[in-house]
């Protein structure tokens, strides 16, 4: 920490973020880790037929090509929109049902067997019926994503409601809170860290299910892009799709954490 007062710091241009030594080390390790991954890939590719494992260089040139033609951007954008719409629908319903189940014993005990009966059916297993019901257009993609997101956010919301400390509830009650205020002013804010975690986990799941849905029945999106490349045995393009998925997941997760750390800031404080 004393290092931030180091006079040498003033040598850096103004736009350069002032970082602590620990942050610089973290960034160096992060870059080193990625470099190691790429190096490992490069070395491995020397031992395999490039049709099986294309070297990073070939994948990069293929990526540049697909970026120039707009193909990749379009696929990524399509998948993102699907994830966005499905995620919002799933979260709204999941958190809503979780709160409903958390607020009333009768509702909880009524819905619990139904939730437990349907929950083991993975989003991927729902793809065929989603196509029968909603066709191969956007509707079935939204459904698949929302379906997966729904259960994860529901269970986390319910766990959050149940984890509200008894002392906190009692404090609110003896201060004169009625049932309504108790729920919306105490239980709901108390559950926010759980809801936040549920949404973050669900977002990861949404990526997995959208790709599956796009591979099975779609004519756009990153999953479709990968599947097309496979049909034409364009291994480089398969890898472009995979790297795109990796980058999308990483960016989205960071973005999600950044946004929620601002929007939900006060609800994510320690209860200390």
């Amino acid at each position: 920490m004393e290092r931030s007062a180091n006079p040498k710091r003033s040598m850096a241009p103004k736009w350069w973020p002032s970082l602590t030594r620990d942050q610089l080390i973290s960034i160096a390790i992060f870059v080193g880790s990625l470099a190691f991954g790429i190096l490992f890939w490069q070395v491995s590719s020397l031992f395999f037929n490039p049709y099986l494992l294309p070297p990073p260089r070939n994948v990069l040139s293929s990526a540049v090509e697909t970026l120039r033609s707009g193909e990749l951007i379009e696929s990524v954008a399509t998948s993102y929109i699907r994830i966005g719409v499905g995620f919002v629908i799933g979260c709204t319903l999941g958190v809503g049902c979780g709160l409903l189940m958390g607020s009333s014993r009768v509702i909880r005990e009524f819905l619990d067997p139904l939730v437990e009966a349907v929950r083991p059916i993975s989003p991927v297993a729902m793809i065929p019926i989603a196509i029968v019901w909603l066709g191969i257009d956007e509707g079935s993609k939204y459904f698949i994503i929302a379906y997966g997101v729904f259960f994860i956010t529901l269970l986390n919301t319910l766990a959050g409601v149940n984890a509200t400390p008894l002392v906190r509830l009692r404090a609110a009650r003896c201060l004169g809170a009625d049932r309504w205020s108790m729920f919306f002013r105490i239980t709901l804010p108390s559950s926010m860290p759980y809801i936040n975690t549920g949404m973050r986990v669900a977002l990861g799941g949404a990526f997995a299910s959208v790709v599956a849905a796009e591979m099975i029945a779609a004519n756009s999106g990153v999953g479709y892009f990968i599947m097309q490349a496979r049909l034409l045995v364009q291994t480089e393009r398969i890898f472009v799709g995979l790297v795109a998925l990796s980058a999308m997941g990483f960016v989205t997760d960071r973005l999600f954490r950044y946004v929620t750390s601002i929007v939900f800031a006060r609800y994510l404080r320690l209860s200390a």
Binding site: R170, A171, L175, G176, A177, R266, S271
Partner: protein
């Protein structure tokens, strides 16, 4: 003003595997308006259970609690509790000011009245400068002061103190005890104070009730502490009282 508390033949227990486990056995206690009554007893004797019954959090197996002649049936802001749990009793997503405001909002007071009360009680507990902070930015002693301000701001008839200073370090505890008496001198609220600290009970109480070790705890004896205030360990008769109480507890 009111605040007369009558605890009438309170018994409490629970059955487990067919056997009856008594927690409290026929507790009688009258607390006059503006009086401070401390209850001391060994851990697990049921002191907090009694407080929870008075607060209305749990219903007694037998007996009843009356506040100004009205039977206590459920929690209400005429009997506000200050909890021992420093971590969970404040609302962590609310600032100090918002925590104090919570009970006032529930009372549906006017904006001006809420503002006035927040300022008055934050000033009383000496937290005016920290009004915008969140609980996780406060020390244990400051958190308990917020609890006290939050409780008193609703103008309760009875303040129920559930070992509020037990989790604080010794120095903070001493200054909190002093401040608590100063604050009460301003509000004249009736107090039921649960503690396992004999010194604390003699320092604060107009009367001290000594509870027996459970199961089926009772109040063994009620001492009137007629020592002049402010008291300290060297007040004449202070240690005699402590010795007497200790004799009953061991």
């Amino acid at each position: 003003m009111g605040g007369e508390l009558q605890i009438r033949r309170i018994s409490h227990g629970f059955s487990s595997r067919g056997a009856w486990n008594g927690v409290l056995g026929a507790i009688d206690l009258d607390i006059a308006s503006g009086e401070i009554v401390c209850l001391v007893g060994p851990s697990g004797c049921g002191k907090t259970t009694l407080l929870n019954i008075v607060a209305g959090f749990i219903a007694p197996t037998e007996g009843a609690v009356f506040l100004d002649g009205q039977m206590v049936l459920k929690p209400g802001n005429d009997r506000v509790v200050v909890f021992q749990d420093v971590h969970n009793s404040l609302f962590p997503w609310m600032t100090v000011r918002e925590n104090v405001d919570f009970g006032l909002a529930m009372l549906a007071l006017s904006r001006e009245e809420r503002q006035l009360r927040i300022e008055r009680f934050l000033d009383l507990v000496g937290l005016t400068e920290h009004a915008g902070k969140f609980p996780d930015e406060l020390s244990g002693g400051m958190k308990q002061r917020v609890q006290l301000a939050r409780a008193l701001a609703t103008d309760p008839k009875v303040l129920l103190m559930d070992e509020p200073f037990a989790a604080l370090d010794a120095l903070t505890r001493r200054s909190m005890q002093r401040e608590f008496l100063q604050i009460l001198a301003a509000t004249r609220t009736t107090v039921l104070f649960i503690t396992h600290d004999i010194f604390e009970s003699v320092l604060l109480g107009d009367r001290v009730g000594v509870m027996s070790r459970g199961p089926t705890a009772r109040i063994l004896r009620l001492f009137r502490i007629d020592l002049a205030r402010p008291r300290s360990l060297v007040s004449p008769g202070f240690t005699d009282r402590m010795t007497e109480i200790e004799g009953l507890l061991t």
